[in-house]
């Protein structure tokens, strides 16, 4: 058994619209000798959307999810910033005895009583706090020298910091640390802690596209060759909708958006196809040639 073992909570996006996230997570964890037990029976975390109307339903779904992880006897690992934010909040709310009792009544015979467990952690945090940056660096076979990468955290990895408590919400460091460990250069820009606009893309597409466009253009003007994000919903808005953002801003952007494990995988020398880089909407070919060819 590996020294590092997690109950892997995929979230919906990695199993739906972002298959490349699941693919690259599996590939990278295999290469790093991190053992993942996929929680196949886990449900959606509610994404804060179910919680808007039915807070207790969302909480009970997550009590069930956290229970599935606790059954494995290892911490839960997420690969979605939004799932991470929602699950961390549920985890904290369920640490209150009265809340837990109330939710356990809802849970009843739906997966058994939840009686606590370790705090869920995102792959990004697991790599830093458990695996260690030095170990990660030692696994790099294809250092990403010369590549300038803009970190894009996403709201739920940072705020509200009360529930998360990993990074400073105004001056986070974790993505920069990983980018540097891979031999690439982190790009500083104010958009790195901003919202991608995904939650209002259906409500108000023009606001959302301005948010995407502004963040992308700022990163690009500061020299970024690509962005990396720990959240597939940010990825969707920045990558899938980039063409629309270009129209909204009346400027060509063409900035590849990588999932965190895709960037790591490149530095580990994994096959870009195995990392699902062919599935990204904004073309990654030029980026790959630069990395592999350099």
């Amino acid at each position: 058994m590996s020294q590092f073992k997690y109950a892997y909570y995929t979230g919906c996006a990695a199993k739906g619209v972002c298959p490349e996230l699941h693919q690259s997570t599996m590939a990278v964890c295999r290469a790093l000798d991190i053992e993942l037990v996929e929680l196949k029976a886990a449900s959606c975390c509610g994404a804060g959307v179910i919680g808007e109307l039915e807070p207790d339903t969302q909480l009970a779904m997550n009590a069930r999810n956290l229970k599935l992880a606790a059954n494995q006897g290892v911490p839960m690992m997420t690969v979605c910033g939004t799932c991470q934010g929602v699950l961390a909040r549920s985890h904290q709310e369920l640490s209150d005895g009265d809340t837990r009792d109330r939710i356990n009544q809802v849970l009843g015979n739906s997966g058994g009583v939840y009686d606590g467990g370790p705090k869920p952690r995102h792959l990004l945090w697991a790599l830093i706090q458990d695996y260690g940056l030095a170990r990660l660096e030692s696994k790099v076979v294809q250092p990403l020298h010369g590549l300038k990468v803009g970190p894009f955290y996403g709201c739920y990895m940072l705020r509200p910091s009360d529930y998360l408590g990993f990074d400073d919400p105004y001056n986070p460091k974790s993505l920069e640390q990983v980018i540097s460990a891979l031999g690439a250069e982190p790009v500083d820009y104010s958009g790195r802690t901003k919202c991608c606009g995904f939650p209002i893309v259906l409500e108000s597409e023009s606001s959302a596209m301005q948010m995407v466009g502004t963040n992308l253009i700022e990163a690009q003007d500061n020299g970024a060759h690509c962005l990396v994000t720990p959240c597939p919903l940010c990825h969707m808005n920045l990558d899938l909708y980039q063409e629309k953002a270009e129209q909204e801003m009346d400027r060509e952007i063409g900035l590849p958006i990588l999932h965190l494990p895709q960037l790591i995988g490149l530095a580990l020398g994994l096959d870009p196809k195995e990392l699902g880089l062919d599935k990204n909407m904004v073309d990654t070919d030029a980026l790959i040639t630069e990395v592999v060819g350099a």
């Binding site: 449900s43 509610g46 739906s110 606001s207």
Partner: protein, 322 residues
């Protein structure tokens, strides 16, 4: 301790863009950013302009952007800023015109507060439980519900931090919506329905992107975004369901009930089903996604033991206690 503070200066009369001016000063270790700026004004440059009154996080006058973060200068220690950022740069709040240096024109903020009628509207006979003519004490449960939103000191930090205020001038913003919820949740108010319908329009509670910037920025833990979410819930529960936001939540619940997971590929389809023109608009993107192997199937096989999820959904009535 010797420190340097950079203050964004702006003089409306000299026709120049705002620029940072650097001040060096000797200060005691645990000085606040506000006191350091007051010291600069006293000792070095009397023209440095800013608002302040209480110096103890009560009046809400001294909010500004400190190293990009909107917050109270009297509630921020110089040493903490230096620890976090290695420097101290102060700017006026965002999303309002700058009058001079750190002082902004608060009109856009106050207009929004005013537009939500920030008082309890009462009329004889409309809320018989809460008679107008005599003093009515509210039960503790109501007081608890109003506790967060009642703490607001109108400092504008949340409005400055708000990501939608940045891109949409029509958005009411966190403080005004939190204030609106303060009135909606007050059982004595007789205009709950009118308030909810008005805020159901563009610029109201559906336009928030749930970025949590306001929750993080608020010095009084008002949690404006939570109040916005509560407004949405009140609206749906009161029958205001004909909105994109409301349909999104309902479809989300439906899909998760069927599959146990959200199928993002299905959402836009479901949302726009009734509008053929809208559907046509999303086709080109759908085709490209298909080409990349990214378009999920219209129906996914459900997760194992999906029945447990359905039971959880059935076990609960809508909008129960948080």
């Amino acid at each position: 301790m010797r420190i340097e503070i950079q203050i964004q200066r702006f003089d409306p009369d000299n026709g120049q863009e705002p620029t940072y001016e650097s001040f060096r000063l000797e200060v005691p270790r645990h000085i606040t950013v506000l006191d350091a700026i007051i010291q600069i004004k006293d000792e070095q440059d009397g023209s440095v302009t800013f608002r302040r009154s209480c110096r103890s996080a009560i009046c809400g006058s001294c909010a500004m952007r400190i190293n990009g973060r909107s917050g109270l200068a009297c509630d921020t220690l110089v040493v903490d800023e230096l620890d976090r950022f290695g420097e101290i740069k102060v700017q006026p709040l965002a999303h309002m015109p700058v009058l001079r240096d750190l002082a902004v024109d608060m009109t856009p903020f106050w207009n929004r507060i005013e537009s939500v009628k920030p008082w309890v509207e009462r009329e004889e006979g409309t809320e018989p439980e809460w008679p107008v003519e005599k003093e009515t004490l509210m039960p503790q449960s109501f007081v608890d519900e109003l506790d967060d939103v009642s703490r607001c000191i109108m400092c504008m930090a949340c409005f400055s931090a708000c990501e939608i205020a940045e891109v949409d001038d029509d958005f009411l913003g966190p403080a005004a919506l939190a204030k609106a919820y303060r009135m909606v949740a007050d059982p004595r108010d007789c205009e709950t329905g009118e308030r909810l319908s008005k805020l159901n329009e563009h610029g109201g509670y559906w336009d928030c992107t749930r970025c949590n910037q306001c929750v993080e920025a608020c010095p009084k833990d008002v949690k404006p975004m939570e109040a916005i979410v509560s407004l949405r819930r009140e609206a749906i529960n009161s029958g205001l369901t004909d909105t994109v936001g409301s349909r999104h939540i309902t479809e989300f619940l439906n899909i998760v009930r069927q599959e146990g997971r959200l199928n993002e590929g299905r959402m836009p389809l479901k949302m726009k089903m009734s509008q053929p023109m809208e559907l046509l608009k999303i086709m080109p993107m759908a085709m490209k996604m298909l080409a990349k192997g990214k378009l999920p199937m219209p129906i996914h096989p459900p997760i194992p033991r999906v029945r447990e999820v359905r039971r959880i959904m059935d076990a609960k009535g809508k909008g129960e206690s948080k």
